[in-house]
Subunit: 363 residues, 2 copies
């Protein structure tokens, strides 16, 4: 099978395979992706995902090449130093060496955690992503891996691109609506920052999540990943244009933290953040971005686009100012000069505050 | 001041400054080495070294640029996951961002630990090495950073080359004789694998550790680091020739583990391992390497070159076989075809055992 996409990272190029049923060909696809053969495999899998799909993945391996397996509980809490150490111990006990390969089976949490284990085990071994959620289409490419510190998310980690991404779109069929909504916001984001015709395509082809065909999902994944791939290929280590991927995220991170993580999904917060960034763009550039139909479309998919009532405007602004991407105490916002043309712009506090208190989502 | 050496890594080139008194110019040398300015500094220092030199290092920084400081206890035990987490917390509390720089002041333990903190904090920030021991001349270049896992040394880590190495040779003057001997074995190793005339130079210029002038130390550091630099530039990630740096280390690691870490220094074990590797080379290639004068020289410096009595030959062999560098269960040994010409060669167990039981060091 030929890759749907090939992504070039600083250190190597890797294929992204997208199609239904690929979990049954995991072994074959990985083996054909590796430049040097793997001495052994270990699968790090989300418990919930493992219940559904681990058997199929394992069955794709020949008897003398069966991977060891380590399970991690679903949810953000698994991205901890304790779980990281536990997995390193299991990796050692499974006698993985420098020629071995770790396979991450699950969503973003599993990929980030397993990726950082691979990045730091014996100073770095290869790993492969088997994403099981739509949101993971975003995290599985680009090479960011990491875990959380009690003082903040993703503060410990490494850039360590995978050796392959094997995306079985059938796995998305068992995903709850809320998970769809979380991942789909990043799809819409990719349209806004780099591919406005894609926004139109989404409205025509994805009238609702439950009505999506596998062909549509495959196409959606491919187009959305292509946007991300183009940007990270240009700027893997986030010195420049990669910042555009944070469109909608500055406010989103603040909303997630203010509401308490888990109350609102990442993507739901990103959706609110994007609407805010669109309004801010119109104000800063004094333009009309013509995004009303996209907003209506997102609302029809069940997104709530106003800032949650419990979030205080001043607190949101304060949180923006301690974000990783803040320099010199001024919030740097990704704005759109026009649809598909992002810019990173320092914005004065009072402008943000005014718009925050003015309300969002009621265009 | 011009660098004594410049080393090219996969991601960037970095200067190595070698001279007496450089600690008084730390700030200036770091600032002129950085491609992009540092937003803030934090020093991670060995407690014992800090007592002697931290004040001088800090005094080199202007008042509005003083670094935060985190101290770590001397000794291998500091290369733990607990200490790693504690340092990440301190780094966060010091509000270091992606543009900040960590400075490692101490020997190999401090450099490895601080380097891995830098490698993984916010997915990697820059760091600078201020080595305080001779042994650290080996670990401070080449980009290996890492910590220990309860199941083995250096099993968790990253390749993360420093942005500069500032080597104040005056600091070596306060180093105990045992520390000299530990570091000097790596110097001799560099002579054996890549610069045989250097072995002659050492015998003429370093008749004893206490009689070394600063000029001699500077020259010694420069020549020894040059050998290492040449090899790691060719093979940063240890896929090929970098393995030559393990000359003497296969047996050394086994001796260190068998004797209990700390009983014998790393370099003392490496010295024994080198003599063993030289004998093994002569046997495998059926040659005469003419190293007797170097052996006598090392003995005059206080090295004990026989395998410690408490080490059982079969146990040593077993430990060699679980080493990181073992493939397919056969021990791969770095041997010398002639002085300065290393090769990586699989050696049969019975050949190793025979030589182990035959005794070493009594040529």
């Amino acid at each position: 099978m030929k890759p749907s996409l090939t992504i070039t990272s600083e250190s190597h190029a890797y294929p992204v395979y997208i199609h239904q049923g690929l979990r049954h060909s995991t072994y074959e696809l990985i083996e054909q992706s590796l430049m040097k053969p793997a001495s052994a495999y270990m699968i790090i899998a989300d418990e919930t995902v493992a219940d559904l799909y681990l058997r199929d993945v394992l069955a794709s391996f020949p008897d003398n090449r069966k991977p060891s397996v380590a399970l991690v509980p679903s949810g953000e809490a698994s991205k901890s130093l304790d779980k990281y150490e536990e997995l390193l111990t299991k990796t050692l006990e499974a006698r993985l060496d420098r020629q071995s390969v770790i396979i991450a089976l699950g969503g973003g949490v599993t990929g980030d955690l397993a990726g950082f284990v691979a990045a730091s085990y014996m100073r770095g071994i290869r790993f492969v992503q088997l994403p099981s959620t739509l949101l993971a289409h975003d995290s599985s490419v680009g090479g960011k891996t990491g875990i959380n510190h009690p003082l903040g998310k993703n503060l410990i980690g490494a850039f360590h691109p995978p050796s392959a991404v094997v995306y079985d779109s059938e796995m998305l069929m068992t995903m709850p609506e809320k998970e769809w909504r979380s991942g789909f916001a990043e799809v819409v984001k990719h349209g806004f920052i780099a591919d406005p015709p894609f926004l139109q395509w989404l409205q025509e082809n994805v009238p609702s999540f439950s009505s999506c065909s596998l062909d549509t999902i495959n196409e959606l994944l491919k187009r959305s990943i292509a946007v991300k791939a183009k940007i990270v290929q240009e700027d893997e280590r986030e010195q420049g244009v990669r910042a555009y991927l944070n469109f909608g995220h500055t406010l989103a991170h603040s909303i997630e933290a203010e509401s308490g993580y888990g109350t609102i999904t990442h993507g739901e917060a990103v959706a609110i953040g994007m609407v805010f960034a669109l309004k801010l763009s119109e104000q800063v550039y004094d333009i009309d971005l013509q995004y009303a139909d996209t907003i209506r479309y997102m609302e029809s998919l069940g997104y709530h686009l106003s800032i949650p009532n419990q979030c205080d405007s001043h607190e949101l602004l304060n949180r923006m100012k301690i974000d990783k991407k803040t320099h010199n105490q001024k919030v740097h916002y990704v704005l759109l000069k026009e649809l598909g043309r992002p810019e990173l712009v320092p914005v004065d506090d009072h402008v943000i505050l005014q718009l925050l208190t003015g309300g969002v989502g009621n265009k």
